[in-house]
């Protein structure tokens, strides 16, 4: 599959899953103007501060949190995160708005390739995230943000 098709499929499926896709020309696009109070967990010093869950307010008030991923799946718009990408496992779930940064080179076609790429890696916790948290438990009406992130942005960079 050519790279263009791969990227286009991925974008289409991320959108179908209810998330937005932005193209990031490097760090510049990520700004606290756009997302006030943004926590950028690609930065090592910030990761150190958020390792333990002590005071729950500190956690429930998180509005925008950004993580870097090394794997995205074109067929379903899923993005992979694992222990190494986050200081605490609850962060990608508890933030109101989740931002996932991903290079187009990290895309694979489908779940077979995704698991092949993960191979024998010994991650303690890992998750594929496709779109924001959702539920249709009330009369099959789709509602975003059942428990996890209400909004999801995928930042694609080259």
């Amino acid at each position: 599959m050519s790279k263009t098709i791969l990227v286009n499929n991925f974008i289409k499926n991320v959108r179908t899953a209810g998330a937005e896709v932005l193209f990031s020309p490097g760090e510049a696009a990520v700004s606290t103007d756009r997302w006030p109070g943004l926590l950028d967990f690609s930065k090592a010093d910030l990761r150190l501060q958020y390792q333990t869950l002590e005071n729950s307010e500190q956690w429930t008030d998180i509005a925008h949190a950004l993580f870097c991923s090394r794997l995205g799946v074109a067929e379903n718009g899923a993005v992979w995160l694992e222990d190494a990408d986050m200081p605490h496992r609850i962060l990608p779930f508890i933030t109101r708005h989740l931002i996932l940064r991903l290079a187009t080179d990290s895309l694979v076609a489908d779940m077979h390739e995704a698991y092949a790429k993960l191979g024998q890696d010994n991650f303690g916790f890992g998750v594929f995230i496709s779109g924001p948290s959702k539920t249709a438990d009330i009369e099959q009406s789709l509602v975003y943000g059942a428990h996890g992130a209400k909004e999801l942005t995928v930042l694609l960079c080259d």
């Binding site: 499926n13 496992r89 390739e113 698991y115 948290s133 249709a136 009369e139 428990h147």
Partner: protein, 457 residues
Amino acid sequence: MSQHSKKARRFLADAKRAAWHDETLWMVRCKRDRAAEAVDDWENLRGQASDIKEKALENIPQYIRQFKEAARQNGAIVMEASNHVMLQGYVATILRSNGALRVVKSKSMLTEECGLNEYLIEQGFTIIDTDLGECIMQLRREPPSHIVLPAIHLRKEEIGETFHKHLGTEAGASDPTYLAQAARKYLREQFLSAQAAITGVNFAVAETGTIVVCTNEGNADMGVHAAPIQIHCMSIEKIIPAMADLGVFTRLLARSATGQAVTAYTSHYRTPKPDGKMYIIIVDNGRSERLYHPTGRSTLKCIRCGACMNTCPVYRRSGGHSYGQVIPGPIGSAIAPFRDFRTAAGLPFACSLCESCSNICPVRINLHEQLYYWRQEMNSYRSTPILRKLIMKTAALVLAKPLYYRLAGSLGRFFLRYFPFMLKLPLRAWTRGRKLPRPERQTFRQWYARNASKHTS
């Protein structure tokens, strides 16, 4: 009349709700079709999934052993419960020994089957179901009516009332977004104050000791990562050999269940969190027995996608509660006789043998053949009504002799035309929901005799 028919009649009494239920599940089924058609090698995938499950079941003791070893290496504590009483006991012991009183739980049909909630509540624990659908059902003290869509039988007004009563939402409010937000707020408090989280398991990977849980809401993860103690309850058949097999199942599961390409979250739990404890309880509860039964084994391939329910014409028109089982629908009816032959008696007959379930099942369980098998088993225990047996015997006789057949045909047409009420009386149960047809003036034979010459060239 069977228990299923009686309960189905109650469900059908509210004609508007019943029609909505039918249409909504059909809509879910159509979404599944579109999702399946978008995958090139869908049939091939179903075949692979079936093969992997067969292989896993064939070698289940070996895979369980491998899984236990790997999970222990990862730092998890693994226990084995041969029945529901042991599961209840283990969970209560784990909670007590860790001083955990408040527990959140994500969806698990296994713990439903084992009556875990009821037991823990009786023992003084607080246990909160966190899947929105299950939370609604728990507040209403009702069992779920569908394995993927637990509250599919309810209208939003009813949910609004439940939330008004228990969560203090505005009276009369029924907007799904408003209600879901209220639940989010209530459940967040539960997540952050819970001392332990219990989850079900979608897949358990023998090779790596990994537990995989798929949710759309993220409730399993909110629970597991916030609480110091995580407990994963799995039945033995959740075992799959290798991580690579997940490629097959994650592609099939959500597409079959809701028509999504994948669930919002596919979570892989391998090691406990820092300072946390991870328990895995492997439950048998009658499954080993099914493993060596001619139809039972393949029921263990089920990945609980719910597709057979959405597609089943009987399920859609009778509602999950009419089955009186933890798992309703075609797969529920195929499992029920193992759980209690007597209470399952009517279920294999709640089926039109249309085969839709077998054709849709992502792991290719021959559901309709199983239901057919159980009908015969049950007939040999004389649980079929005498009248139905008599009708079948007569039919066999009439169909075997052309003369009788012709005679019966003209008699039938005569009564249908001039005395339809006479046919309606003995067939009361049948004609309640159906109209008798107007008979044609001529039989097919007569028509054929007249027209055959015209059409042969």
